[in-house]
Assembly symmetry: C2
Homo-oligomer: 341 residues x 2
DNA sequence: CTGAAAGCGCTTACAG
DNA sequence: CTGAAAGCGCTTACAG
């Protein structure tokens, strides 16, 4: 069985007795521009169709420098949040005639750097990146190389790089306010040990809201490792609940929320009786928990779509200089886990 | 700010005053084969390194026909099972110097077909596909075009196409046997309306086990739409539990399990008191449910790694004819949801 | 209106 | 041992 041979431009050309250039021009819709006869144009199109011709993108890329490939770097494609984001980006990319190449950085700068190199080497036309802590330098370098680039989920204030993300400050402010309205005062917060924008903004949202509500003395932020948060969450909860006697906890990511629910379940702490809980990101676990979990919902679909839109704009129009900042609003979905008993 | 210009082979060559061919040969480790002087070889390598040369993969591909790109088609990258599988495939691919391009078919043949075309057009060296129902024809076509190809999670008995998947028959047999050992007799089964291998094998595993245990009269398989299973699951459970008075249910996929738990929760059915449950695939929901759910665990890591291994073998050694069949064993993780009360 | 040629960056068979 | 040339498939500036 032979390797299927693709028909090339040349094949189409020779079948018609014309030059490959002519065929290329017609097929790229530049017949008028080059003042090609209408009859000729039609017969070229007909021949290409009947021979089932599709252009070799590799050759086209070598010539013109475009692959219609978008590189996507998330921190972990197996994390449901990023899996969903990837799906949305994929859908939007396909609509716009692009294909997505992806990689997971595991919140690690040197992995991110390697992935960027690999993806650039594959000739991606642009990149969508969830940057990790300390990636500022390599993101800046990439940006300065003038490769179309959009950050998602997180951004760098100091860089002129476009991004699409949640209003993280608003998100935790909403959650904190809700708990305060329910009558909770001793409200604690669990976050990653990271200086990346969304972590910082989420913490600020909580802290400012506590201050503004006259609850400064109860501010308590536990920071846990981003790479292996579970032990940190366990230790933090043991301290918060058994020592500090906190009455409510806000988990600032989906992973932290799930890890927290494991500890609370294992320790037989009742929600919301022993402690009220607010989680982050939609999740079946939240809905199916014996006391359904109140959570902060991200407009993840819009976040993903906007990222692709901005990127494609840059790739097509070369408006690399323009910094687009899309900040989308959170929603608080209230269930029983955060109600006052 | 200018577009960063990559250093090319030619740049390295002219900096040394030698021909590009020489540089290419040395950098590809063929110095000895071409009897290039050792000193020369060393200086070429040093120059390439100091100039930060990386080969242009697009050009290399046009020349040699390889992109080091693996195409992955799953049914839905946002489904946690496939997200995890994708991550494993990604990791293994990177280890072997490949990058993954992906797409989601939504269990739809014509989407699958389009994706195959798109990915082939991007010049992928090989494809890993989760085939959907009725995809037999297009998979055969692809196989006959001699493109390296491996199916995962599902396969076609009738085709000579390699695959890596779970022993699905054994999986549900294990689950059924466990429930029978617990003393359950009226055991029902929920599956997709699909003729794809894993659905068929899972149903057979259950049915045969019931027959062999003298419980033929209780065999009851409910089939629900694969595209939008939730309404079907709701209807099936209403019938099974409220009419047929089934005492135990096996859900044959992760999605079906979750949808089922939603109905059981909404209807206030107690597990395992009102009905015992066995789910499919590891999941936080199962562990955090008030009565932790017994489930069938797939060796998903091995399934993914083997798929990449087989594919890379085909791509490198061109052993396209050989049909590799990797069938991996399931494990039953027993929790309280399936115990006899 | 249309064809021949150059060139994107690489590799390999060929000639010395 | 080493260089010059051809060619992968395409597109565009150039010459008629």
């Amino acid at each position: 069985m032979e390797k299927e041979k693709k028909v090339s431009l040349k094949d189409v050309a020779s079948s018609l007795g014309v030059s490959p250039a002519l065929v290329s021009i017609v097929l790229n819709g530049k017949a008028k521009q080059y003042r090609i006869g209408e009859q000729m144009a039609e017969s070229v199109i007909a021949a290409a169709k009947s021979m089932n011709y599709t252009p070799n993108l590799v050759a086209r890329n070598l010539r013109g420098g475009t692959t219609q490939l978008i590189g996507l770097i998330v921190t972990d494609i197996s994390n449901p949040f990023f899996a969903t984001l990837a799906r949305i980006i994929e859908n939007r990319a396909i609509e716009l005639n692009y294909t997505v190449v992806f990689g997971s950085s595991d919140e690690n700068v040197s992995n991110t750097k390697k992935l960027i190199e690999v993806l650039l080497n594959k000739g991606v036309d642009g990149l969508i990146i969830v940057p990790c802590d300390n990636a500022e330098k390599i993101i800046l370098e990439l940006h300065e190389s003038n490769k179309p680039l959009v950050l998602v989920d997180r951004y760098f204030q100091s860089l002129d790089v476009s991004f699409s993300c949640l209003n993280n400050y608003k998100a935790t402010e909403l959650a904190t306010l809700h708990l305060i309205e329910q009558g909770y005062e001793n409200i604690s917060f669990i976050a990653y040990k990271s200086e990346i924008s969304n972590v910082i903004d989420r913490i600020s949202g909580y802290e400012d809201c506590m201050k503004n509500s006259g609850l400064s003395q109860f501010i308590n932020v536990k920071r846990v490792s981003i790479n292996n948060p579970k032990p940190g969450v366990y230790k933090a909860l043991d301290n918060l609940i058994n020592k500090v006697k906190t009455k409510a906890i806000i988990f600032s990511t989906n992973t932290l929320s799930i890890d927290g629910l494991y500890w609370l379940t294992e320790m037989n702490k009742r929600i919301p009786d022993d402690v009220a809980v607010v989680g982050f990101d939609e999740n079946d676990v939240f809905n199916l928990f014996y006391s359904p979990i109140t959570y902060i919902k991200q407009p993840i679909e819009q976040i993903g779509i906007e990222a692709v839109n901005i990127l494609v704009d840059k790739m097509k129009n070369g408006e690399l200089a323009k910094k687009s900042m899309v900040v989308l609003e959170p929603e608080l979905i209230i269930k029983t886990s955060s109600l006052k008993v």
